[in-house]
């Protein structure tokens, strides 16, 4: 039952041994796919998400074009084998909603006005789901956009904060999401402190919300460093080769 399952141990750590304000082990890699113009793999613990960017490229059908900017198209999709019970590959209502909130979370970071009448396509595939897949998805997508060489204001990094057994915890996994009292995914442009994605699924007092937002920002700053490191790893090597 929600709120009744014990998710915080006596010593104050979580079931997987993390402290409340600790991220799961993070792994990020840029340029993991050959065909895509940009791609990235992001792992947060057992959550594994891959993102690819194609474009700017021509749009079909043509009537979708905008005269003054590129459009952004985004698909968030879960692999059938990513979950405990097989997930049908047909897009669910959840995936339709998340594709929208992720696209809206990326719109303000991309200089779309540089590529009028084109599309920039972002494909996010959740390969293994263990909580925080939309935030891992947007984190991977912004890396893939950078890898595609698309001019951006900043990167976007995201993490979900949860409330379990009355305690606010950073980067919740599936169990904490399922049995916890609240799940709040947040994504930001870290250099500007602008929130590009914010959802709350659960119950918080205004004071708890305030604290949860601070906790999210703390995690996002750490993820931002991982993102920059992953980009440096690919592109500093290339420089040496030349």
């Amino acid at each position: 039952m929600k709120g009744k399952t014990k998710l915080i141990k006596k010593d104050g750590t979580r079931l997987d041994g993390r402290k409340p304000d600790e991220l799961r082990p993070v792994r990020m890699e840029v340029g993991v796919l050959k065909n895509a113009d940009g791609s990235a793999l992001v792992e947060m613990g057992r959550t594994k998400v891959i993102a690819a960017v194609y474009g700017p490229r021509e749009i079909h059908p043509k009537h979708l074009t905008l005269p003054d900017r590129a459009i952004l198209r985004c698909r968030y999709h879960m692999a059938p084998f990513s979950t405990t019970d097989r997930k049908s590959p047909a897009p669910s209502r959840r995936e339709i909603e998340l594709s929208k909130v992720i696209r809206e979370g990326l719109e303000s970071v991309v200089f779309t006005e540089l590529y009028p009448r084109t599309t920039i396509d972002v494909f996010i595939e959740v390969l293994q789901a263990d909580g925080g897949t939309r935030t891992a998805g947007i984190t991977a997508a912004s890396l893939a956009l950078a890898d595609a060489g698309i001019p951006m204001k900043d990167l976007v990094a995201g993490v979900a904060v949860g409330k379990v057994n009355g305690i606010l915890v950073l980067d919740i996994n599936e169990v904490e999401d399922e049995y916890g009292e609240a799940d709040m995914p947040v994504a930001m442009m870290p250099s500007f402190g602008e929130i590009t994605l914010l959802q709350l699924n659960g119950v918080l007092t205004p004071e708890e919300f305030e604290e949860a937002l601070k906790l999210a920002e703390k995690g996002i700053r750490q993820l931002y460093e991982h993102q920059k490191e992953a980009l440096r790893k690919k592109y500093s090597l290339q420089k040496e080769e030349v």
């Binding site: 905008l66 459009i71 985004c74 959840r94 339709i96 719109e107 602008e194 590009t196 119950v203 205004p206």
Partner: protein
Amino acid sequence: MSLTPSTFPIIPLVKKKSVMALLEKGKRLDGRSLNEYRPLSIELGYIPKAEGSALVRLGNTVVLVGIKTGIGSPFPDTPDEGILLVNAEFLPLASPSFEPGPPDENATELARVVDRSLREIRAVDLSKLAIIPGKKVWEIWVDIYVLDHDGNLLDASMLAAMAALSSAKMPEAVVEDEEVKLNREKLKDPVPVKHRVVIVTVGKVDGHLIVDPTLEEESLLDARLAIAVSDDGRIVGMQKMGMGTFTADEVRQAIEMAMESSKMLHQELDKALKGKVK
């Protein structure tokens, strides 16, 4: 796949400038202040054939919600609980930008935000909706019908859903040999509503925050933040919508505005339901 929409309606630059100039003075085109709602009315029982219904008018926005109930099998992880389902239809008669077909991403998002705002605080007590635990439970359908779109569909939909649910009566369920039959002639128990929830959507344009945007205002907004507030003053859901961003300070301000406006919306709900609900 979700894609950048072309803005609708298209607002002439001159108008945009005059809206901005007014906002600078704390005013809006229709004479409202930044934290003021349009005239609101809630009419109960608009569809007598439904178990519960409410027609909400918010300015020129009109949303109708009908509640239907049925018998279903429980989800395996909650064998002793009823099922709440929320669906939204943006009807083609409501706006030149709506097209026939299955719910698009906007309708899907709206339905899911309303659903979550009800679900997380357990506004409807699903544990009271098992008929034969583990086998037969009540299914409560909340169908949101947008009839006329002049902005802020989410707040209007939540009000209509809440009013309809709170005034709904379920048919009598007769159990015979593990089978459940519904006597639709006899409406008996109310839907067990434990908490009332309202949604306040705060729009941001050029650093100004406004509540209850009209369609025209919506097309000028950078972003919107929907905040669901329960009758006991807790935040029970949130959703950032639109292409722009919010700073942490703006979110704080938006929450303050939402807390304030939510009191008015809860009062309006009370007023509409008073005497009609036990």
